[in-house]
Amino acid sequence: MKKTILLSGIALFIITMVACEKMLPPAPKDEEILAGTIPGLTPQQEHEHLVGDIAFGKIFTPEQGLGPIFVQTSCSNCHAGNGKGHPTNVLTRFANVNGSIVDYLLSKGGPQLQQSSIMGYPAEVIPGEANVFSKRMAPAIMGLGYIAALSDASILANVDSNDVDADGISGRINYVNPTSFFIPQSIHIPNGSQYIGRFGKKAEKVTIQDQVVFALKQDIGITSDFDMQDLYNVQAGINTGDNVTDPEVSASFVYSLVFYMRTLKAPTRRNTDDPDVMAGENLFNQIGCNSCHKSTFVTAQSDIEALSNQTFHPYSDFLLHDMGQLLDDSYPEGNAKGSEWRTPPLWGLGLAKDSQGGQLFLLHDGRATTFEGAISFHGGEAASRRTAFNTLSEQQKQQLIKFLESL
C-alpha cells in the first residue's frame, strides 16, 4: 500500500513536470501583438530596448515628481500595449486664435490641459481665453524607428503643395522650429531655421526625442535634463509646483525611451494570402487611398544598423492634408492649419481593438468607431476618395476593410 502511494506520487510528479510547459499559457503569436523588436538587433541593443520598455511602463508617483498637474501617470497608460489609445485618456490642447494671431496661452497653462492632479493640489481647468481646442487620442507607437530613419528627401518627394499633378491631393510639409536640444543629422534638410516635422498628429515634432520630452512634461508632469521647467497650475498661484528636485528624470531615462521606440518592430501583417484581403488591397489602390496612405518607403543610413536601408510599409506619406470641415478643429500647430492632419500610418490598424478595450476608436480624437465611419469623415483633399469608396459594392467595401484589418 505504502509503496503504491509512493510510486503513484512519484509518477504524478514526473507527469506534472513533463506537462508543466504545456500547462503554462502560450505566448501570443508575434503577429497578434504590438510588441517586440525590429529584426537584427545585437544582444546589447535588445537589452537597451528592455530598459526602455521598463521606462515606458514606469508609473510615476508624486514622490518621483508626478505632476503636480498631469494627464496620466505613465506612457503606457495612454499607449496601452504600444497600441492606440482610449477615449478615457484623450488629451486636450487649447489656444486663443484671433484672425492670424495664435496665442497658445503659455502663461495661462497652455498649450495642453492637465485635468489630473496629485492629492490636495487643484487640477487645471481650461482658461476662459481659450477659443480653440484640439482633442487627441494616443496613436500606436510601433515602427517609429523606421519613420525616424527616413531621409527628409524621401518625405519631400511626395510633396505636391500646388497639386501640380491635378489629382486633388496636395501634401504639405509642416516646417517647425526645432527644440533647443535638436541636433541635425544627415537625413535632415532645413528650410531656413526650420525643420520638417514628422511626428504627432499634425507633424509638429521633428524627432522622437522631441515628442518624448514634450510627453514627459505635458502628459506626466516630469522634468528632464532637456526641459527643467516643471509644470504647475497657474490658477493655483505662481510657482506652486511640486517640491521634487528637477530634473525628475535623467537624460539616460529619456534616451532609453527613445531607443525603445526606435526599436519597436513594425506591426506584422496577417492573412495576406486571403483573396479578399488581396482584392481589398487592389481596391485601396484603385480608388486612390494610396495617394496619401502610401504603402512603401526605404530608410536612409541609420546609427542603428538594423534600421539602415530598410523597406517598410506604413501606408502614410507623413505629409499634411486638408481633410475638410468635419475634421477641422481650428487648432493650428506649426504650419498646420485646423483642418490639416498628417496622414496617419495605417499599419497595426487590425490590432487597434486589442488596445482599445475591444472597440475601435479611429481618427485623431477617436470619434469614428468603424472603418467605414473613419472613411466617411474624409473630406477636403480626400473627398473624391471617400466618394469613390461609397460607390463600391458592399462586397468590395468589405474586401477593402478586410485589407485594413490585415495591416
Binding site: Q115, S116, G120, G357
Partner: protein, 408 residues
C-alpha cells in the same frame, strides 16, 4: 536590530532542536477542542510549546515552497521561496490577563514585522480589553492567515490586495463572546491608526490599500489624527458554520497641516462577509470571503484609480483519505479547489459607458497531504486571467507551486 533579532531567533530554534531529545523541557500545550472556535480565536488557537517552568509559551510556523510560473509564454523558471516564518510568544500574565505576540520574517528575513503584540484583559467573557498591535478584524483571512491552516500556497488575492492582509495596526478596543449550546456570538471593535494617501499615490497604477503597509510610521503615529474604526460581529453554529460581517473605515488623507485646512476629508471604507462550514458526513470544508472597498478618490485622479473595489474567494477542501499513512496516525489527503475574483475598479468610464475592468479571475486546484493537522504538504496549480483597465485581451498566468507549511 535585525541581527539581534536573528540571533535571538536562532537561539530559540536551537533550544527547540535540543528539545527534541529532551521532551520534558518543552511541553506541548494541548489545544482546547471542546469550545467552538471562531476566526477571531485564531491568534490563540495555535499549537504552543511551554518551555519548562517558564511562564511563556512559544510557537510559530514556517512556509517554504517552490514555484514555476509563466505569463503569456514567458516563464521565470523554477524558484524557491520562504515567503514567511512567524514566531509567536504568548503568556498568561495573571489570571485573565494574556499577552500574545506574532513576529513575522518575510522573504527570508528581508522584512521583520510585528504582526501582532497585544495584551488582553478579560473583565467578563462579553467584555475584554485589547491593546497594542492588533490585527484589524476585517473579513476572516486577516486574523486567520497562518500558512499551515490552508491548502493553498498563495494567499487569496482579494484578501491581500483589497483588504491588505496581514493588516495590523496600533490601537485598542474591546471584544467579547457569548455562547449557548451550539451557538456562539462574538463581536470586536477597535480604534487603530490607519491608512495614508499612498493608497492612491503608488506604482501599482490603481487604488491600492496595501501601499499603506509600507509606511512604518503608522506604528508611531496616525497619518491624519483620525482613527481607523474596525468592527466585526460573527456567529457560529456547531452544525451550520460561521458567518461574520465586518467593517473598517477612516480617513486616509492629510486634510490639515499645522492647523491649516489643506483638503477635504477623504474616506476609505471596507466591508467584508465571511463564511465557513464543514458539511457533515462527507466532511467537505467550505470557506468563503467577499470584500468591498470604497475610497473617496479625488475627482482629479486619472480613471485607473477606482473608488470601488470588490472581490472574494471560495475554497472547497475535500478530504479523500484519512488514516494511518507512513506511520502517522490520522494523516489526510485532501483535494482542494479555490476560485477567486478581484475587481480593482468597479464602475464604468464616463467617456464610453463601458466597464472599467482591471480585474483578476483565478482558479487553483490543489492536493495536500497532512501528516497531522499542524503540517501540510501541498501542491497547487494556478491559472489566472488578468484584464487591464480598458478590458483588452487578458494576460494569462499559470504555474505550479509545491511546498509545505508547518507549525513548530
Amino acid at each position: 536590530m535585525k541581527q539581534t533579532f536573528l540571533f535571538l531567533l536562532t537561539s530559540v530554534l536551537s533550544i527547540q532542536a535540543f528539545s527534541q531529545s529532551d521532551s520534558s523541557f518543552f511541553k506541548r500545550i494541548p489545544t482546547d477542542t471542546s469550545k467552538l472556535k471562531m476566526n477571531m480565536d485564531a491568534v490563540y488557537n495555535r499549537p504552543f510549546l511551554q518551555m519548562g517552568k517558564l511562564p511563556v509559551s512559544i510557537g510559530g510556523y514556517l512556509e517554504a515552497n517552490s514555484s514555476y510560473f509563466g505569463t503569456d509564454g514567458v516563464s521565470e523558471g523554477l524558484s524557491f521561496q520562504i515567503p514567511r516564518m512567524t514566531i509567536f510568544l504568548s503568556s498568561t500574565i495573571k489570571k485573565r490577563i494574556k499577552f500574545l505576540s506574532e513576529i513575522e520574517l518575510e522573504e527570508g528575513g528581508k522584512e521583520i514585522g510585528i504582526e501582532f503584540a497585544s495584551m488582553d484583559i478579560e473583565l467578563h467573557p462579553l467584555f475584554n480589553l485589547r491593546g497594542g498591535v492588533l490585527m484589524n478584524p476585517i473579513g476572516a483571512f486577516n486574523q486567520n492567515h497562518d500558512g499551515p491552516k490552508w491548502e493553498f500556497i498563495s494567499r487569496p488575492i482579494s484578501a491581500t490586495t483589497i483588504i491588505p492582509s496581514t493588516w495590523s495596526n496600533v490601537g485598542f478596543g474591546v471584544f467579547g463572546k457569548y455562547g449557548r449550546n451550539n451557538l456562539v456570538w462574538a463581536y470586536e471593535a477597535y480604534l487603530t491608526n490607519g491608512f495614508d494617501d499612498k493608497i492612491i499615490a503608488n506604482e501599482e497604477n490603481r487604488t491600492w490599500l496595501p501601499e499603506s503597509k509600507k509606511n512604518p510610521e503608522r506604528f508611531e503615529e496616525s497619518f491624519n489624527g483620525i482613527p481607523l474604526i474596525t468592527a466585526k460581529t460573527a456567529i457560529r453554529h456547531r452544525k451550520i458554520g460561521e458567518v461574520g460581517i465586518s467593517w473598517m473605515g477612516g480617513v486616509y488623507n492629510k486634510f490639515e497641516e499645522d492647523g491649516i485646512v489643506i483638503d477635504s476629508k477623504k474616506r476609505v471604507d471596507a466591508f467584508a462577509i465571511d463564511f465557513n462550514t464543514t458539511i457533515p458526513k462527507i466532511n467537505t470544508y467550505l470557506n468563503a470571503e467577499w470584500v468591498w472597498a470604497m475610497v473617496d478618490v479625488p475627482d482629479s485622479s486619472p480613471p485607473q484609480f477606482g473608488n470601488k473595489q470588490q472581490g472574494g474567494f471560495l475554497d472547497i477542501v475535500q478530504p479523500i483519505v484519512r488514516r494511518k499513512m507512513f506511520g502517522w496516525e490520522n494523516s489526510t489527503i485532501n483535494l482542494a479547489f479555490r476560485t477567486e475574483y478581484t475587481d480593482y475598479n468597479v464602475g464604468t468610464f464616463k467617456e464610453t459607458g463601458e466597464n472599467r475592468y482591471d480585474h483578476i479571475i483565478a482558479i487553483v486546484p490543489g492536493i495536500s497531504f497532512r501528516p497531522s493537522a499542524q503540517t501540510v504538504i501541498r501542491a497547487n496549480y494556478r491559472y489566472h486571467w488578468q484584464k487591464d483597465l480598458l478590458g483588452n485581451p487578458p494576460s494569462l498566468t499559470a504555474g505550479f507551486q509545491f511546498g509545505f507549511s508547518t507549525y513548530f
